[in-house]
């Protein structure tokens, strides 16, 4: 069924649209970093050669990633199925290793220094390994993904690196692992789980927004209406009324105990503060049990919503057509912190306005839909699960990153795929895409 020629020529069978989009994104990324770093007093050519600026470094990263991409396309697809299990184990070991070898960058010990002054973030790479491992597990003939047991097993595989990330104080990276829900859902995860998750999220938000008493009244009212309207049904089935009541009790418990517990004991002070500042409230850090020691040295720091405020100003000041290439005052004046990594979207928004951001979002949307199309045309479950994992990871990064720059989501430090400055991040996404392209080139094959 498979053709030999497909395996030998990397250009044949690879999806050109994704390749073009990939290069377009990387180019836009380098341009955005250039806008952030641009300084009219330095000469362009000399800084390019010296490789001291972020944008020149990013060019070198991109060239390296290009080579890696070609290399992946030249490999055998079976290589990825074969290596899926072992790579996951290596990834987990690397993450554990960071606790001993880790270098402290921005307060999180998630980087391992490697040769040449570069640092590696195993948590980033682990996304790839987890995707492969999940694909491998679900595609195994003995796995019946309609069973709860396999759901739990898959969830465990995903949760392990996520937990390790939390232990490394990388909340953003940990959240990314929820992106695998897409793939699991596609493969048969009952929608009720998504609905429950969504309800829980709504409940948490409602707890933050509303007065607890009002919320309790609302919940009780909803339960009462539900019971009274379906009174006849409940007469037949007495268990149903118990279900409603237990849901009511769980919701109530969430409001009263779970949410405060999460904010005071699971999240760190700055995270709780960020989430509270999203809805315009102030979080009292003295309640936080997680990071008592940190709260002492808060004096003189910029207010916590400074980033988001400046980021919104930058994007908003772009207006419809933008202020023009290299003309953004927010960018030039370095008002937005972390602008070449997590807040890179702001330079684009300021320079090119709504036209630029909408076009950019269009590109991303096209990119995601293209990958979904690729996923659906796979014959092998492995490739499909992997493709959906890629979709999930990209989507989660894009949605969370852009939402946080425009004030729709609390600030969590995750990069914008292919755009943000950073070798690890660029390499991860490159490898994710190129493995997908390699698998897609062999879509006629059934991989296990």
């Amino acid at each position: 069924m498979s053709t030999v020629s497909n395996q030998n020529s990397f250009s044949k069978g690879t999806d050109l649209a994704v390749i073009i989009l990939y290069f377009a994104m990387v180019t836009i990324g380098i341009m955005c970093i250039f806008m952030v770093e641009f300084n009219p007093t330095n000469s362009l050519s000399s800084s390019l050669v010296a490789g001291k600026n972020s944008y020149s470094k990013q060019i070198y990263f991109a060239l390296f990633c290009g080579i890696v991409g070609v290399f992946i396309l030249l490999m055998d697809s079976k290589f990825f199925t074969a290596l899926a299990n072992i790579s996951y184990v290596v990834g987990i070991l690397l993450m554990i290793a960071t606790f001993f070898l880790g270098k402290n960058v921005n307060g999180s010990k998630s980087w391992i220094p490697i040769a040449g002054g570069f640092n590696l973030q195993p948590a980033e790479l682990c996304k790839i390994f987890t995707a492969l491992f999940l694909a491998k597990y679900i595609s195994k003939p003995e796995t019946d993904f309609t069973k709860l047991k396999s759901h739990l097993l898959a969830a465990g595989m995903i949760a392990l690196p996520a937990l390790l990330s939390i232990m490394q104080h990388e909340m953003g990276l940990a959240l990314v692992y929820s992106a695998f829900l897409f793939a699991m859902y596609r493969e048969g995860l009952p929608p009720i789980i998504l609905i429950v998750a969504l309800s829980f999220a709504i409940l948490v938000i409602a707890t933050l927004l509303l007065d607890p008493i009002i919320l309790a009244i609302i919940l009780t009212t909803i339960a009462a209406i539900f019971i009274s309207s379906m009174l006849k049904k409940f007469k037949k089935n007495k268990n149903a009324i118990l279900v409603v009541l237990s849901i009511w009790a769980i919701s109530f418990g969430t409001i009263r105990y779970a949410v405060p517990y999460i904010f005071n004991n699971v999240f760190e002070c700055y995270q709780s503060t960020r989430i509270y500042s999203m809805i315009g409230k102030e979080y009292d850090c003295s309640q936080n049990n997680k990071s008592v020691s940190v709260s002492g040295k808060k004096n003189g720091k910029k207010p916590d919503d400074y980033n988001v405020k400046q980021s919104k100003i930058a994007i908003g000041s772009g207006g419809f057509l933008g202020r023009g290439f290299l003309k953004g005052t927010q960018t030039r004046g370095k008002y937005v912190p972390e602008q070449n990594t997590d807040f890179i979207f702001t330079s684009l928004g300021e320079a090119f306005g709504f036209v630029g951001t909408a076009t950019f979002m269009g590109l991303y949307l096209f990119f995601l839909f293209r990958i979904i199309r690729i996923a659906e045309r796979q014959r092998s479950t492995f490739s499909r699960v992997y493709a959906y994992s890629v979709v999930g990871i990209f989507f989660f990064h894009i949605a969370v990153n852009i939402s946080m720059t425009i004030g729709l989501f609390p600030v969590v430090g995750i990069p914008l795929p292919l755009i943000s400055y950073g070798g690890s991040s660029l390499l991860t996404f490159t490898v994710l895409i190129f493995i997908l392209l390699r698998l897609d080139a062999d879509r006629q094959m059934v991989l296990r």
């Binding site: 000041s317 772009g318 370095k334 008002y335 709504f354 909408a358 991303y364 852009i402 425009i406």
Partner: protein, 711 residues
């Protein structure tokens, strides 16, 4: 299994699409529907520096600068950047405490926000500037900026020039679209206000790009939005600084005003109002202190009496009354009135200073002797003119004449807030006399001798002299002859000063008669004792009764008699006879202008006049009461030569408020000098009437500062 769940790919697409729609929605709201972000970005990053141009300079007729610009330094601060300031050192240098430091910081923030530059300490002294400049590195966020402030090298003409001051909220509201900002300075009074647009020039704005640490990164967009500062243009006035200074000197220790006009052009040569103030004290850091003192002073030193003071013109009005009667054909120059010391035709007799027969035998003689009865009669004739059928209409005609002479209306001088004084409307008398059918010339009889409700400003009085001097026309009195680089707008302003103002169609012959009469005033009439060396001149004295105390001493004149060049009006409040005080002052001013110098005798006279203290007692009492005795003039005199005239200014011993003063006088007796102050004109008998109890006859020194009026 894949087929079984294949619709889920679509659901995932919908979820993705939904999230993207939310994001796009927020982008639309941020980028398209709110412009506050653009503003916020500009506020962040664009630093506007205002470049203040030099204000224009005001010159006198010989190109002496009446005011100039000098550089002063301000200590300014951007509150947001004032972190890690060595507050103790700064407070030490500025001699303030930390409380004051915090207070000023808050003031700056309130006025100009945290990120803009605000003035922390204005007008640094040179020593302070040097000290701060050396230590500036210890005060991040603080910097020193130059600004140009006014200085007055001749220390004169404060009422004319006016002052500049920081604009307040009211000003900003009024001049909304003119680009003023908090902290700007603008002309508030005088020529500074009138010609603000000319003098201010055009401010420049430079835009700089500033980074998140407030560091300037360079000009914004290569300076393409920058505007250059354009210096203010200079004014060339008709003022003669020496005449002006003489006028101010002569009015020292008196309350009053002098106006000297070039009758040929309408250009004002001098305009003094006393008391005045030292204009240099209203610039720089003394301003805050001085302005309060000036505003609360009961003698109102800021008030320009020359254009705002309303005085009954008294006898100085008589020539105008005569002109009306002559023009209406009611009298001939030969018309005489048999005055027997009073005017009896309207019931109560109105007194006249003369009672010898023939002192009003014709117009010329009546003018020379300033016969009240004659001019009362002439006024009645004008009002009862049979041509107009009734007294009301007659009065209206008379008023029309008055207005055309410049009385009762604004002349349009180029100073703000000129007062039109008062020629009463018929409405005023309607109220008094029921209504028109009871109108009778007797009711407002004393209008005929410049009393009743008639008032005029010194400027209006001087202008009538120009009118008579020119025999029927005048130029609107003005200061500014020309403006540097005159623009179309300026020409429009100045053109009205270059236009002859004809006064109805009164024949030149009438004016010649009046001139002769006014000349006779100076030959054998009421001003016979006052001479201008080398020139024949025409004048009219006035002693105006007023409800506020003693008569005002008024004198109007022009010179030379043939081909007059200068018209003068002087008013000295509550001083007595016109010829006694206002007369000599006027003659000296004319002499100074016409001869460019004073004779030795005149100089001596001017020095004497300058020391004469004619301040009304009520004002002195106020100074004593408010513990401001240093505002009183130090008149030192020798008891042996003590003239009664001085005693009128003495303080009653019975007045408890003055006891303190008397005590101080006695304490300082020993240090008394022997300086004497002979009087220019002895008018002992007249003034004695007003004297209170005399001080005992010892050598005394009344502690009155020589710079009485020049605070």
């Amino acid at each position: 299994m894949a087929l079984y769940n294949s619709n889920r790919g679509g659901i995932i697409q919908i979820i993705i699409g939904f999230v993207f729609v939310i994001i796009i929605g927020q982008l639309i709201s941020l980028q398209i529907f709110s412009n506050k972000y653009k503003l916020a970005a500009d506020n962040n990053a664009i630093f506007r520096k205002i470049i203040y141009p030099d204000r224009g300079i005001i010159y006198d007729r010989r190109k002496h600068a009446l005011l100039e610009n000098t550089i002063s330094y301000d200590l300014v601060v951007i509150p947001n950047e004032a972190k890690g300031v060595d507050t103790a050192a700064l407070c030490n240098i500025l001699n303030i405490n930390s409380e004051e430091y915090n207070k000023r910081m808050i003031d700056v923030i309130i006025k100009n926000s945290r990120v803009k530059t605000g003035i922390f300490e204005p007008f640094l002294s040179p020593e302070l500037y040097a000290q701060l400049n050396e230590n500036l590195y210890r005060f991040p966020g603080f910097s020193l900026t130059e600004r140009s402030i006014r200085s007055y090298p001749y220390n004169t003409a404060e009422h004319v020039l006016g002052y500049v001051a920081e604009v307040d909220v009211n000003f900003l509201n009024k001049h909304d679209e003119e680009g003023y900002e908090m902290g700007d300075y603008a002309g508030m009074t005088g020529l500074e206000k009138q010609y603000e647009n000319v003098l201010m020039g055009q401010r420049g704005v430079k835009r700089f790009l500033r980074d998140n640490k407030g560091k300037i990164q360079g000009s914004f967009e290569k300076g393409q939005f920058d505007t250059l500062a354009v210096a203010g243009r200079n004014l060339y006035t008709s003022v003669d600084v020496e005449v002006q200074q003489l006028a101010e000197k002569l009015l020292q220790h008196k309350i009053g005003s002098a106006v000297v006009i070039n009758s040929k052009t309408g250009g004002v040569i001098a305009m003094a109002s006393s008391p005045g103030y030292n204009p240099n004290l209203l610039t720089g850091n003394q301003r805050r202190k001085t302005i309060g003192i000036l505003l609360t002073d009961t003698a109102r030193p800021i008030y320009n009496r020359a254009i705002k003071g309303q005085y009954p013109p008294g006898s100085t009005f008589k020539p105008m009354g005569a002109i009306i009667a002559l023009d209406e054909g009611l009298i001939e120059p030969s018309y005489g009135y048999n005055c027997r010391g009073a005017y009896f035709a309207c019931g109560d007799p109105r007194k006249c200073t003369h009672n010898n027969a023939g002192h009003a035998a014709n117009l010329q003689i009546a003018l020379a002797n300033s016969c009240n009865s004659y001019f009362l009669q002439v006024f009645r004739m004008a009002v009862d003119n049979p041509k107009y059928h009734n007294a009301k209409k007659g009065y209206l005609k008379w008023k029309e004449y008055m207005n055309s002479f410049g009385f009762g209306r604004k002349l349009g001088i180029d100073l703000p807030s000129e007062n039109k004084a008062n020629i009463p409307d018929t409405a005023a008398y309607n109220k008094d006399f029921g209504n028109a059918k009871y109108w009778n010339s007797c009711y407002m009889l004393t209008l005929g001798i410049g009393q009743d409700r008639m008032t005029a400003t010194p400027l209006q009085l001087a202008n009538t002299m120009a009118l008579i001097a020119n025999e029927g026309f005048y130029y609107t009195p003005h200061f500014v002859d020309s403006i540097e680089d005159e623009e179309l707008d300026d020409k429009e302003i100045l053109s009205k000063f270059r236009k002859k103002q004809e006064v109805t169609k009164i024949s030149g012959d009438i004016f010649k008669v009046i001139k002769e009469g006014m000349h006779d005033v100076t030959v054998y009439g009421t001003a016979a004792g006052i001479k201008v060396p080398g020139h024949e001149y025409c004048a009219k004295t006035g002693t105006a009764q007023n409800p506020h105390g003693k008569n005002h001493s008024i004198f109007v004149c022009f010179a030379p008699k043939d081909n007059p060049r200068v018209a003068v009006a002087v008013v000295v409040e509550n001083a007595g006879y016109g010829a006694t005080w206002a007369g000599p002052i006027s003659s000296l001013l004319m002499e100074k202008y016409l001869n460019d110098t004073l004779t030795v005798e005149s100089k001596r006279k001017s020095d004497e006049l300058a020391t004469v203290d004619l301040m009304p007692q009520s004002i002195k009492d106020w100074y004593i009461k408010n513990n401001k005795t240093d505002f009183l003039a130090p008149i030192e005199y020798n008891n042996d030569e003590l003239s009664d005239i001085w005693d009128m200014e003495m303080v009653s011993e019975n007045n408890p408020m003055t006891k303190k003063l008397v005590d101080t006088i006695q304490k300082t007796t020993d240090t008394n000098s022997k300086k004497t102050n002979p009087l220019p004109i002895p008018i002992k008998s007249k003034l004695n009437r007003d004297t209170g109890a005399l001080l005992n006859n010892k050598k005394k020194k009344i502690p009155i500062n020589k710079n009485v009026n020049r605070i």
